[in-house]
Symmetry: C2
Amino acid sequence: MTTASTSPASRDPFGLKRLGINARDAARHMLAAQGRAKAEALRVMADLVLERTATLLDENAKDLESARRNALSDAMIDRLTLSNRSLQAMADGLRQIAAMPDPVGATTETTIRPNGMRVARMRVPLGVIGIIYESRPNVTIDAAALCLKSGNAVILRGGSEARHSNHALIAIIGDALTAAGLPIDAAQMVGTTDRAAVGQMVTMNDYIDVIIPRGGKGLIARLAAEATVPMIKHLEGNCHVYIDAHANLDKAHDIAVNAKTYRYGICGAMETLLVHAKVASAILPRLAATFAAKGVALRGCERTRHLIPAALPATDADWATEYLAPILAIRVVDDIDEAMDHIARWGTQHTESIVTEDLGAATRFQREVDASSVYVNLPTCFADGFEYGLGAEIGISTNRLHARGPVGLEGLTTLKWVLTGDGQLRGV
Amino acid sequence: MTTASTSPASRDPFGLKRLGINARDAARHMLAAQGRAKAEALRVMADLVLERTATLLDENAKDLESARRNALSDAMIDRLTLSNRSLQAMADGLRQIAAMPDPVGATTETTIRPNGMRVARMRVPLGVIGIIYESRPNVTIDAAALCLKSGNAVILRGGSEARHSNHALIAIIGDALTAAGLPIDAAQMVGTTDRAAVGQMVTMNDYIDVIIPRGGKGLIARLAAEATVPMIKHLEGNCHVYIDAHANLDKAHDIAVNAKTYRYGICGAMETLLVHAKVASAILPRLAATFAAKGVALRGCERTRHLIPAALPATDADWATEYLAPILAIRVVDDIDEAMDHIARWGTQHTESIVTEDLGAATRFQREVDASSVYVNLPTCFADGFEYGLGAEIGISTNRLHARGPVGLEGLTTLKWVLTGDGQLRGV
């Protein structure tokens, strides 16, 4: 660690260095914290969320009033709103995370070197995690809980629109940490809502080990351009389903419909459907009827439009677009290579799926498609940590290094080498 | 992948975008390459290095002549020099890497979700790796071999002082790739020796997935400050050995001497020795005699100097310094906590070791010390991929995310999720 000297306020206008120094100190204690203390903190947190429901709703009401005064969109107000039900869900989520096994300290299989020394790797916290997010106050609790459970210290930077709610929530987190005998600075919130503070956070390499932004693509792309601290980030999900020549067409129909319509706004929603020419005439008119009934607008290549006259012509812009809306682009391809070429050219390495009963095609697709998740006979909308069995999810990563795809507790940890010997020496 | 449109030369002055586009294309082929083709390429490379020894030595002589004309240091000329022996070592290394198991395509254990879908992770290449290095021409072969074996495409940027040698070596790599039926663009070399090209490389996020710099701390720190492409980087190794109250003092003596004197210039060399007060008077005079005989200059805290009067006083600058030289700082501490505090304050999270026969102390140290490698009863100079059994090493990472510590083939790969179902749908 580089020297963490204190700075005059003039050089630390938002108090971020102070938070960073405190977080580093807390991280050292969290690293060695017992699993039961961390679980206890989360259970107390759950209790306090329920006990202080009235206060939380009052504070949230202040944020909602400002939001309405500032004419925020309905969608934003919806994300900002806490309710008895959402607070109960928060408490339930905390208890679930509390009950999960502690990832820290587990070691991999040990190998014995010829000189007798034992080599293994131990799972350890990342250190200090910075979370930058927008209006959802539930992120304050969810993100803090996952970071603390995995033995990290966390610095939270929520949106100004949720400041009253977040203030009440961070007080709960602090009280719970204290009750469990853990350092209160293991979870801190950035006091200012000045946007410049975010720019400082993403370059505080001495104090923050990883930044996890939660929010729209615009926010994340802007942060990524400035960041020198490594980020676990989620960019686009321009996901494809490819219906192979050897697909079971009933499955293919249901998978394509589910992939598009399960929820339009999620990153795992299918945005382009690729169909092998051999089965296009058998499957596309049937799919067109279902999508028409569900209000999904179709855009297609020339061959698609021959089979679905109602589809508008698709352009390169369609192949490139993550609609997050009831719109679907469709392209007919001559073989699996053309499908994989399309995905390589236009995909965002998020989640891709093939529908086929042919083992060779399934194997090739799963091996050769470069994406964080590659499916066989499943809709892309399964891209979710709970569906994968992670038990919790801090987000979905489109990074290639470290955590890729849905990120659970393990993604908030890293491995260190632990070697144990009995006085072996090198080169003698 | 974002659209890889070609640019006019004016916007690509060093031809790097062209290299990037070629590398992306080659990476897609490498991803699916058979292990035997990759091994074959490395074996042909080994054959060609031996067959073309005369040419390689001639080209190397040109570089050496320029180096002498430009009055490069003896150390630099030493690193630049190829010989019959170093070329034989290069060929041997290539054959060793060829014989290693292919890391690509291996999948983790599969879990079955309640709905019957199967979830696993598959080891896949990182994609395109950029290697930025200085005078050693053997890096051209070593780094390319490791990147190719792990299924990546590589863009090499060597130092201008080695350009003739590197040119001859990249020709060998290209011929070997072609002979094995692999794309020649899987290994490319940056043509220019303009330093600005390096600045462009580390920000080519669309074309390069990870940068691995090989060289001095100055080069790496400068690149890290500019880079937006993730880097697997090695910064400082300010490593400590802590001799506990319950150490076997014979082992402690030998471990401390080996840790310091195995080689002074390696990153795993011990730079500060911490000694528990209870054993200081028993071990320090003995160590002082050994170090004096080996010409290691000692600097110590006050208590150390009481026991070793010849030691100069150590200052904070000594605790902070990676000497890489026959100099050692020594501090007497009151307990393991003070030792771990010292390491947390001054260490660089590289390699730390405790000498003790006490299980509790060993367990605490290994769990609580935050470093990429934490040892019990071993000298820190074991920090090396071959010693860990990795079979090969591209470098040692001081990153926290992704690869930490010695990086072998596995560190040049990542895991993608592979899910296999039979038409399961979400939410129905």
